[in-house]
Every structure is written in structure tokens, then in C-alpha cells.
């Protein structure tokens, strides 16, 4: 990586681009003597190209090039085998010396290193667990609140919505402070005579943190769908002689699928990509795929941006694929967003 001395040409580019845009717009208006409404969307089109499309293309560009800018697939090979670039960087003569001594690459710790894939699988597993727990905890809660006979329902939902908008970091810190050695839980445990328990810096702590952070995102869409559901349907089922469980199984559950799908999307995605929850609650012992990516960009004196970009790309593709799959389960997107 070079140290950049020239003052940002990005600003120049932005200014030129903006001027060109205005000029085009004026030309368009003059030529057409006025404009149609779709033109109103043009600033946003420009914006989305510059700040969404181009950055995404940049990630793709970085993942298919080496630090010198030449096309390469090495970054993806590094995803498969984290030692790939390392081996390539070492003087072959030196490696030969070791091999002459009868040592294999594995003896040197430079054989295939599956750490990236392992961490990705671990992250997916953690995210899956988190989604499952959220669903198991959240569905009954949403169901109870959506019950029309439960007057407090709509009010309580607001209580679920509030943390949804609250800073993740802040909530994680709140959790961290009650789980600390001197925190509330351990104080209570001590007082009860159970002695201090090891809470922080474990995989379980990270899992709790994830559930804690993402639970509201599961409850809300399910509640929304259940709440909008035609109440007469279940009454009709009741009249036809279904018992409570059967109604739930045959009517409520299938109708609530869009909400469930939406909830799963909104929990699973951030759960796969988080990095600060593991950092704060895992004490550096638990690493997720997000941590791996963040480290590639921000905490190594080597230039590993290309590999980092490749990892991000893999993650993005994975998420798009799973979104596509989920969309099949809810083609009309009835679950709705977070608003």
C-alpha cells in the first residue's frame, strides 16, 4: 500500500460529476421544454450509483486483484486455505530447506489452514442457533400479544419495538455490565451462595448477546402478521369443530409464515455478520466471521484488503442466496419490513 500524498481526487470527481449531472438535467429540461415526474428520481439514481453500486463493484474489484492490481483468484484460494498467500510469500528455497530435513508443510503449520471456512461455519451455526432461539422465544410472545382478548397487547408490542431501534452497542454494553464478574447476576448468585459463575468471555455469552440484540426483530413481524390475520378464520375453524391446537396448527401457523420468514431474515442476517457483540462479550476468545473480516481491514500491518474483500464478497453472496431462498417461502413479502 502506498501512502497517498495527492489531495483527494475523489472530491474533484464528485464536483465534476455533480456539475455534469446538473448540466445534463438542464439540457434535458431545455430540450424537452419541461420535465416529467420520473426525473425527480434522478438525484437518487446518481446517488445510488456513486455510493452503493460503485462501492460494491470496488469490493468485487479488490477481491479479484492482488495488492498490485493484477487479476488473480488467490484471494478466494486464501478463503479456502488461509495459508495460501503466506506460503506463496515465503522464499521457496527456505521451504525446500525444511522439506529436505524431512518436514512436511503441516509440520511447519503451513499446510492447508481451514480457519476461514471453519469460522464461517461457526458463524452460520451461531446465527442459526440465535434465529432458532429467537423464534422459539418470540413466536409465543407475539402470539400472546396478538390475542384479541389480551387488551394490553398493542401497548406491550411498543415495548418490544423500542429496543429494536436502540443502539446495538448500548444494549450489548448493558448486557456486558450485568454479566461481568462484579455485575448484577454474579452479585445475586454470590448472595444466594452459588458463588461467582463464569458468564462473560464464552461462546454462550456471545450467543446470549445475539439473542438479546435480535429478539425484537423476530417478535415484531410475527406480531404484525398475526394481528392483521382475519379473526373470523379461526372462529370458523372453531365452528367446524377444530380444537385450539388444531386451529393453531392448521390456520394460524400457515398464515403467519410471512411474518416468520421476515423475522428469520431480520435476525439471521445481522447475526451472521456481527463483529462487536463477539468482541465485547467474547473477550477476544470467540471470533465470528465478522471479526475475521474486520481484522483483515483494520488490524494488521500487512495489506490484506484484497483477501478481506473476497471474504466480504463470499458473505454477501451467501446472504443474497439465503434471502432468495427465504423469498421463495414468502413470495409476496407480506411480512413487511421493520417499519
Amino acid at each position: 500500500m502506498t501512502s497517498f500524498q495527492v489531495p483527494g481526487w475523489g472530491y474533484v470527481l464528485m464536483a465534476v460529476g455533480f456539475a455534469a449531472f446538473i448540466a445534463l438535467l438542464i439540457a434535458y429540461i431545455v430540450v424537452n421544454r419541461g420535465f416529467k415526474r420520473p426525473v425527480f428520481a434522478s438525484p437518487y439514481v446518481l446517488w445510488i450509483i456513486v455510493f452503493t453500486v460503485i462501492p460494491c463493484l470496488l469490493v468485487a474489484y479488490f477481491s479479484f486483484t492482488d495488492p498490485a492490481g493484477n487479476f488473480t483468484l488467490d484471494n478466494f484460494k486464501s478463503f479456502w486455505d488461509a495459508n495460501y498467500n503466506t506460503r506463496k510469500g515465503i522464499d521457496p528455497a527456505l521451504l525446500q530447506q525444511y522439506q529436505d530435513m524431512g518436514l512436511s508443510l503441516d509440520d511447519l503449520g503451513l499446510g492447508r489452514n481451514p480457519i476461514n471456512i471453519d469460522t464461517l461455519v461457526f458463524s452460520l451455526w451461531m446465527a442459526f442457533l440465535c434465529t432458532a432461539i429467537c423464534l422459539l422465544l418470540g413466536y409465543p410472545a407475539a402470539h400472546i400479544m396478538a390475542d384479541r382478548e389480551f387488551r394490553l397487547g398493542p401497548t406491550l408490542v411498543v415495548l418490544f419495538v423500542v429496543p429494536m431501534w436502540m443502539n446495538f452497542l448500548l444494549r450489548t454494553i448493558a448486557l456486558m455490565s450485568i454479566m461481568e464478574d462484579g455485575g448484577l447476576i454474579n452479585t445475586v448468585l454470590n448472595w444466594l451462595g452459588f458463588g461467582p459463575a463464569k458468564l462473560l468471555n464464552t461462546t454462550a455469552a456471545v450467543q446470549v448477546g445475539m439473542v438479546y440484540n435480535f429478539l425484537p426483530f423476530m417478535v415484531f413481524p410475527i406480531y404484525n402478521v398475526l394481528n392483521k390475520m382475519d379473526y373470523q378464520l379461526s372462529e370458523a375453524a372453531m365452528d367446524l369443530g377444530c380444537n385450539k391446537w388444531k386451529i393453531f396448527y392448521k390456520v394460524t401457523l400457515p398464515l403467519s409464515i410471512p411474518g416468520v420468514v421476515s423475522g428469520i431474515t431480520m435476525v439471521f442476517m445481522p447475526a451472521v455478520t456481527t463483529f462487536y457483540i463477539s468482541r465485547l462479550l467474547g473477550g477476544g476468545k470467540v471470533q465470528l466471521f465478522g471479526d475475521l473480516i474486520e481484522a483483515k481491514f483494520l488490524s494488521t500491518s500487512l495489506n490484506e484488503w484484497n483477501v478481506g474483500s473476497a471474504l466480504s464478497l463470499v458473505m454477501m453472496v451467501l446472504i443474497l442466496l439465503s434471502l432468495g431462498l427465504l423469498q421463495k417461502a414468502d413470495p409476496k413479502g407480506e411480512g413487511g419490513g421493520i417499519i
Binding site: 522464499d91 525444511y98 503449520g109 463464569k198 494488521t300
Partner: protein
């Protein structure tokens, strides 16, 4: 509606102007430092005396710092990297030569700490602090003698050990424990060290850097790998704590002050360097952050409080068994990185 619009406009204008007031002062110096590595009142004093506003920014490890200095050219005027990073920064052309004429207080710097390996001609750096890496332990929880790194692998202290979340430090002490150099470029030795750390991981409570001292003061763990100044800080607050530099040897380091080549306020940075080398200021800092001072005049001012304290002023035999870090070239740094990632991601 109109009123609402007017109010909004006003608010927005205010919003746009607010941070400008906070960000833009006439004369500034942008300082990029470790957390808790400066008596902040020193900066206030500097502002009062010179009218130069100090913008403070912090980093956690040398590696984080290197990335930021690279990707944000012009953002930093004065940085506090460790010796081996200075070596790398010089070789990458990231540093500006310091005009020593502007640092008259350089005379106060201990001669033995001048012209060190990382900057043999003393062109790019001025020493700020130095220290060692060792074990901080709680005497009420540890009954074995703490004189070897091996205690960090003792299962008796399972879940009561803090390690440093810092690649060179942690791999370094492990290499030292195994009897190798901290700057090893032997693949077998490095692999052995990495495996040793993976083996240790289940009994480690956490990998921290900045959190360690407060947690040790609170008695949350028996043993921790720390920098000497953090050790003294903690020992001051909790008298059960003690510090030891193991017999296998450890890391001794110097953190110099440097000016990035892209710095926008080089002269102000030089003024601040000179100010920090002033004996009274160096003393103030030293008494606040508890690291060893390279400032001979300041040490004289502090007298026995300083010279009689073995943590801040380690005896010669401790210094003799310690080793400086050196920059590792890219090919081997990649090996270090790879092994460290393996340790961090091990289950």
C-alpha cells in the same frame, strides 16, 4: 408549515455549524496515542502556554495504528508507535524527518536511549517512554513463585489469566518461554509457539489490552500479561498486586514520538515533542502513567521514588535478559499473522 420549515432550516444550519466550532481551531496538533498514555492535564498546559489546540485520538495496538496512519494521510501530526513499528514506518517512507533544532529539550534524553536500532541516526523519532512486558499477579490468588512464563500454562489458574490481544507481544513472550528469540523467523519455532498458545487458550479468561488493568485491580483474575506501566498503575490501586519479569526473558521496548510524512502541522508537532521532553512535563507524565522515562533530567527530579522502584527502573539483570522487537519483513509477518489468526480462531 412555513414556520416548521423555517425551524428546520435553522436547526440544520445550526447542525452544520456546531461541529465546525469543535473541529476547527486556528492552530492545532492532531495527536494519535495509546489509551491512558498521557496525563491529559499536560495537553491543557500545552494549550495554555502555546495556544495550540490538541486534538486527541487513540489506538489500542500498534497494528491498528499502522492501518489508520496509512489510510488517513494528513489526519495525524504526532504518533506514538513502538520501536519495531518505527522501523517499518521509516522503511516505508511514512515518517517525516524531525527538525532537531526545534527540540532543544532533546538534551534531556538519556544518551543510552539515543540512536537506537530502530532509528540509528535519530532523525525520525524522539523517545517518549520505555518499559518492559511482564506478569502482573495477585498475591492473594497465586501461591507459586511467579518467575517463569510457564505459570501462564498452569491449569491451576484456569480461567484466571488475561493475555494480551496483541500479535507481537503474545507470540513474542511465548517464543521467549520456549527459549527462542522474540523476533524468530524459524518456521518450526513459530509453529511451536502458536500451538503452545492454542493449547493455553482454554485456560485463558480473555484476550484484552486496555481492559486488563482495571480488571486486575478489581481482582477478576490471578495473572495477566501486561506492560510495566499498566502494572504499576494497578499496583498503586490494589496492594495485593505484584509484577515480575520472568527469568526466560521478555520484551523491552521504547515508544518514541514520530511525525508522519503526511502531517499537516509538523511544526506544532515539534513544539509538542519539545514540550513533552521538558523535565517538569516529563516528570508529570511519568508520575501519571508510570512508565519508565527516557528523560534523565526528569528522573533526577523524581529522585529515589523513581530509582528505587524496580518496576519502573528495572535492575540491569532484568534489562539484560530482555529483548527488543524488530520489524518482521512482510513474508514472515504473513506467517505471524496466519499463526495469530489460528490462535484467535481456535475453539
Amino acid at each position: 408549515m412555513k414556520k416548521l420549515l423555517a425551524l428546520l432550516t435553522l436547526l440544520t444550519l445550526l447542525a452544520a455549524v456546531m461541529p465546525l466550532g469543535a473541529l476547527a481551531a486556528d492552530e492545532v496538533v492532531n495527536v494519535y496515542n495509546w489509551y491512558d498514555y498521557m496525563d491529559e492535564s499536560v495537553f491543557e498546559q500545552f494549550e495554555e502556554e502555546t495556544g495550540i489546540h490538541v486534538n486527541k485520538m487513540y489506538f489500542t495496538t500498534n497494528e491498528d495504528m499502522m492501518v489508520q496512519v496509512r489510510v488517513s494521510p494528513g489526519a495525524y501530526d504526532l504518533v506514538f508507535p513502538s520501536d519495531y513499528c518505527v522501523e517499518r514506518m521509516i522503511s516505508e517512507g511514512m515518517l517525516a524527518e524531525i527538525n532537531m533544532d526545534n527540540i532543544p529539550n532533546f538534551v534531556n534524553v538519556e544518551p543510552s536511549l539515543r540512536n537506537a536500532d530502530y532509528d540509528p541516526e535519530q532523525k525520525y523519532s524522539v523517545p517518549f517512554m520505555w518499559g518492559t512486558v511482564g506478569i502482573l499477579y495477585n498475591t492473594t490468588m497465586v501461591d507459586d513463585p511467579v518467575d517463569s512464563w510457564s505459570i501462564l500454562w498452569n491449569e491451576k489458574y484456569a480461567d484466571s489469566i488475561f493475555m494480551l490481544d496483541s500479535i507481537r507481544d503474545t507470540l513474542g513472550i511465548t517464543l521467549k518461554y520456549l527459549g527462542y528469540s522474540m523476533n524468530s523467523r524459524d518456521l518450526l519455532q513459530l509453529n511451536e509457539a502458536a500451538n503452545k498458545l492454542i493449547e493455553q487458550k482454554p485456560i485463558v479468561k480473555a484476550y484484552y489490552v486496555d481492559e486488563t488493568k482495571d480488571k486486575m485491580v478489581a481482582g477478576e483474575a490471578a495473572l495477566a500479561v501486561v506492560y510495566s506501566g499498566d502494572a504499576l498503575y494497578s499496583m498503586e490501586l490494589n496492594e495485593d498486586l505484584a509484577y515480575s519479569v520472568p527469568k526466560e526473558g521478555s520484551n523491552i521496548w521504547i515508544d518514541p514520538m514520530v511525525i508522519p510524512a503526511t502531517a499537516k502541522n509538523k511544526e506544532n508537532a515539534e513544539k509538542l515533542i519539545d514540550f513533552l521532553c521538558r523535565p517538569d512535563i516529563a516528570q508529570k507524565n511519568c508520575e501519571y502513567i508510570w512508565y519508565s522515562s527516557p528523560n534523565a533530567a526528569a528522573i533526577e527530579l523524581m529522585g529515589e521514588d523513581y530509582t528505587e522502584n524496580p518496576t519502573i527502573n528495572p535492575p540491569q539483570d532484568v534489562i539484560d535478559r530482555c529483548e527488543f522487537f524488530h520489524d518482521i519483513p512482510d513474508d514472515f509477518l504473513s506467517v505471524y499473522n496466519s499463526f495469530w489468526t489460528k490462535v484467535k480462531n481456535a475453539k
